[in-house]
């Protein structure tokens, strides 16, 4: 049971049942779609980046508890943050899921995903939102759209 509770920590279950920022924003500068063919999970991440700051971040889609909670908590962690910090945070998050080191203090609430390292097949669930975010950031920014 402890392994199970380590994976599905309360904060993860909360976010999977009541995801934050799951909406299509009225306006955004970048977006990307992510798909995990293994489980059929789909996610779209929307970004509103102005002067290098993530002013708004939201998502649409559904997946397993781990992927939904991960993308939900990612949006909370990144709102208002400089784009320049995203790469480092993703690196630390990835290390949390796959490494043996103590979680970096920068991760804050995201440290709740430490249980995933015992379940290597679930790492992709926890990173789907982050990979999609990366793709959104790498896509060419466009005029603010209300499409």
């Amino acid at each position: 049971m402890s392994e199970l509770r380590d994976l599905y920590q309360e904060v993860i279950l909360d976010h999977s049942k009541r995801p934050q920022n799951r909406r299509k924003p009225d306006s955004f500068t970048q977006k990307a779609e992510g798909y995990n063919p293994l489980c059929g999970d789909r996610v779209t991440v929307y970004l509103d980046v102005r002067a290098g700051i993530i002013e708004d971040i939201a998502f649409e889609g559904s997946g397993c508890a781990i992927s939904t909670a991960s993308v939900s908590m990612m949006t909370q962690a990144l709102r208002g943050k400089p784009v320049a910090e995203v790469g480092k945070l993703f690196e630390r998050f990835h290390a949390l899921l796959t490494g043996d080191d103590e979680p970096s203090p920068d991760l804050g609430k995201l440290a709740a995903f430490s249980g995933v390292r015992e379940f290597p097949v679930r790492v992709k669930c926890a990173t789907l939102g982050w990979h999609t975010l990366k793709a959104a950031l790498e896509s060419s920014p466009r005029e603010v759209t209300t499409e």
């Binding site: 049971m1 392994e3 199970l4 994976l7 599905y8 279950l13 999977s16 049942k17 063919p37 293994l38 489980c39 059929g40 999970d41 789909r42 559904s62 997946g63 397993c64 508890a65 781990i66 379940f119 679930r122 669930c125």
Partner: protein, 415 residues
Amino acid sequence: MRRAGDSVLNGLDVTKVRRDFPILRRKVHGKPLVYLDNAATTQKPESVLSALQRYYTAECSNVHRGLHELSVTATASYEGARHKIAEFLHAREAREIVFVRGTTEAINLVAHSYGAGHFEAGDEIVITAMEHHSNIVPWQLLAERSGARLRVAPIDDDGELVLDEYGKLLGPRTRLVSAVHVSNVLGTRNPVKRMIEMAHAKGIPVMLDGAQAVAHERVDVRDLDCDFYAFSSHKMYGPTGIGVLYGKAELLESMPPFQGGGDMIRTVTFEKTTYNDIPFRFEAGTPSIAAAIGFGAATDYLRALGFDRIAKHESDLLHYATRAIAAVPGLRSIGTARDRASVMSFVIDGIHPHDIATVLDLEGIAIRAGHHCSQPLMERFGVPATARASFAFYNTREDVDALVAGLHKVVEVLG
């Protein structure tokens, strides 16, 4: 007088049978293994494992070419396996049995070799809405090469083929039907004999994907009168890496080779090569010899157990399980056809199948979660994925009870 076996379920002594499968003694996450992923692959009995061991320790050599004792023995074992499989399928002749890597390769072989001369722009290939990707993609590739097109016979909400609609698709441009015998997701047993009669009435040959059928029921290719039948060893208690394409001799004879190489030729010069007879024409290169011999041993094992007893026990498990899981809150079965093999797909409201599988795994219970290589079928039922429990004859009602207890825990933790 009390005979041994009187006290056992449906004449099958499951306790004794389980002793034949060494892996069933192991623990997973500290719990006894409850293996319910038999539609993905089945476990292997001791007799199959020892057949592999015997080849590698006493007969290891190449087949068909060597003049020495080991090669003669290995060739006899390999060809002996072909004969056993021909008997298993009730084929007319052993040369109708082509060894391939598995069901997927068998279908690709037909799509290439039979496909080469028989399809042109505007021709049609009929499949069903419940096909595995392996019985969709090879035909799409053939369609791209030839300009032919794919037609898909629909299924109803229970997961049964709509036979009338299937019949309507059989037209003057239909060159082949390729259909699944038993669905890997829904468990649906298709009315294949009727489907074949309907196609043959219009002169259309039929290929069956038997991957999920051969472990559960007696398959008689002569009675079915199918033209091709494809299946894999590893889903019927044999080794991985080997499978069979059955084809009617006259059809196989008419087909060009699939791959070129050793063993499939008669004479080679730089100007011209003549090809070997069937089945060797389709077996280029050194085959998976040990696996073929193990495959033969698996058919021996199944024959000794008997499909009557296997089918009775599995049907008992399916009915018991279908009733038992209905008590799990929010659970919905996907696939409720009247005639089903012991395969059960389901979803639980608000809980992703991958989370179901992870919680069950920690209880030592192995099921499958995902799209089961059947994305169009998932779309048909409006779900991204399902959880699937599939039963073999070595499963017990206790295994089902463990599954149900596990599912209650899933709901408790994630619901």
